[in-house]
């Protein structure tokens, strides 16, 4: 059954419309990747699901309930957690404090400091480092760990690979199977198409705020993806 239903939403930034009548469903337990070029509306979609943006038209339903009007901080207790683009680590807090803030809602579940440190061993050694002093990879691992600390049913990952060395990206994505294994539904936004195809059960390609292609990675050809991605 669908955990998340995004139903024909329009999202605007002032006069600028970023998303046009977009519909996406994500089933419980699956990993969906949303790919697309810069400005395709990927991050806007995640922010709308997390509650930072509101759709002007259409509905966002989570577990069957319409949450379109719910403030972002009220969606976390329901089990929606976003790792935002650019990581947005709290710079004056230590990495461990960042993780603890992620557990602010005290939603029960598998994830706690111990399990996060098991999944991202590099964080265990750096726990007392201030966010501002952490490397990009440490920050990204912390950002994901912080989101996991709320034990989400739906984890939204925005541009995990952005600005990181390939080896670091590889390391961080290596944690994804363990996250899915806990039954967590994952919606990942990526510019790195290869990375997205590797981890996802299903892929959506966005172009200028509309969904132009959808399918299982194995069933889509390179040409199909390329033409959807670039709109040619």
């Amino acid at each position: 059954m669908a955990l998340l239903e995004v139903d024909a939403i329009d999202v605007h930034y002032g006069d600028f419309q970023a998303i046009y009548g977009l519909s996406i469903t994500v089933d419980e337990g699956e990993t969906l990747a949303v790919i697309g070029a810069n400005g395709a509306g990927k991050s806007t979609l995640l922010k709308t699901i997390a509650g930072i943006n509101r759709p002007r038209v259409g509905e966002v339903r989570f577990d069957g309930a319409n949450i379109s009007g719910l403030a972002a901080h009220r969606r976390v207790p329901l089990g929606i957690s976003l790792t935002p683009e650019g990581r947005r680590i709290f710079p004056s807090l230590t990495l461990e404090e960042n993780l603890l803030v992620g557990g602010h809602t005290k939603r029960p579940g598998y994830w706690n400091l111990t399990t996060v440190y098991e999944t991202f061993p590099l964080l265990a050694d750096r726990r007392s480092r201030l966010g501002v002093h952490a490397s990009g990879g440490e920050q990204q691992a912390t950002a994901i760990g912080r989101a996991l600390m709320s034990n989400p049913r739906l984890l939204l990952l925005d541009e995990v690979s952005l600005g990181l060395a390939p080896i670091v990206v590889e390391n961080i994505y290596a944690a994804l199977p363990n996250i899915s294994a806990q039954g967590t539904t994952v919606l990942v936004v990526e510019q790195d198409v290869n990375q997205a195809l590797k981890v996802a059960n299903r892929v959506h390609c966005l172009l200028e705020g509309r969904s132009v292609l959808e399918g299982k990675p194995a069933e889509l050809s390179r040409e199909q993806i390329a033409s959807a991605y670039f709109g040619i």
Partner: protein
């Protein structure tokens, strides 16, 4: 030894300034809001203490137990009704709103209490002192004020550093939107910060009312001294605010020792020197987002 005495008195005076500035520092630190009504609210607390002491005959220090929760509730309501709305507008809105609030409060106090100077009477405590050396005597009341100032700042610092709510406040201060994504309600955090801030103003106001003669216009000078303590110490740093309060206090008392009529002026000069040469303050928060 006169100079040593001036420095000791300055440090003690700094305790009062730190007490006055702690709430200002907290509100700026958590929500980047400059509360221009801070001084006027301290005078509200002073009058609240005065009325309680005069009408019920309760001991002045006991009035703090009633004034602090009243001020905290006022802070919560202010944040919920006015300040949260102001914070969502342009950067200038909170400044205009709190400035207007200061004007309204001052005029209400003038209507209620006239412009006469008043003071909360603590009897012999006001003049009792401890002789340290032949030249240095420490007033018991200034000493109490100083100890309370240091305790308040220490406790507030521990609260922010060690509790989950304090952590949520620091996270909100760093990145309001990211904190919201962690399930933190920034309106709640802000209301709590303002409630704590005005609770501290409650303590500071009663101490101020005991220490000096005050009238409804006294809030302006109070705001300036608190502001100077925060800026000298460095924005967003509580220990810096304590140090800033002491530096300001020392500048004023040592200044008065050298130029008997210009103590306050020398405090302002030190403030301006810091602003000119170390605009981030002497002990700024190490990290900035």
């Amino acid at each position: 030894m006169e100079w040593a005495n001036a420095i000791v008195q300055g440090v003690l005076l700094g305790g009062l300034y730190a007490l006055l500035a702690a709430g200002l520092s907290l509100m700026f630190g958590v929500m980047r809001l400059v509360n221009l009504a801070h001084g006027a609210l301290a005078i509200v607390a002073a009058y609240a203490g005065l009325v309680l002491v005069q009408k019920t005959g309760m001991p002045p220090f006991a009035s703090i137990v009633i004034v602090v929760p009243l001020m905290a509730i006022l802070g919560w309501v202010l944040q919920r009704t006015l300040l949260n709305t102001a914070l969502n507008r342009q950067a200038l809105a909170p400044i205009l709103v709190t400035f207007g609030l200061a004007v309204i409060i001052q005029n209400l106090l003038l209507e209620l209490f006239t412009a006469d100077n008043q003071s909360i009477d603590v009897g012999s405590l006001a003049s009792s002192s401890i002789q340290i050396t032949p030249d240095i005597a420490i007033g018991v009341f200034p000493l109490i004020t100083f100890i309370v100032g240091v305790l308040v700042i220490g406790l507030l610092q521990q609260y922010l550093a060690r509790t989950a709510t304090g952590r949520a406040m620091r996270a909100t201060s760093d990145d309001r939107e990211a904190a919201e994504l962690m399930g933190i309600d920034n309106k709640y955090v802000y209301s709590l910060a303002t409630a704590i801030s005005l609770g501290l103003v409650g303590i500071a106001g009663v101490f101020l009312g005991i220490r000096t003669q005050f009238n409804p216009t006294f809030g302006d000078a109070t705001l300036i001294f608190a502001f100077e303590a925060v800026i000298i110490g460095g924005l967003g740093s509580l220990w810096g605010t304590l140090a800033g309060g002491m530096i300001l206090g020392i500048a004023q008392t040592v200044g008065a020792q050298a130029f008997p009529s210009s103590g306050v002026l020398l405090g302002h000069v030190v403030f301006l020197l810091v602003l000119a040469f170390r605009p981030t303050g002497l002990f700024p928060k190490v990290v900035n987002g």
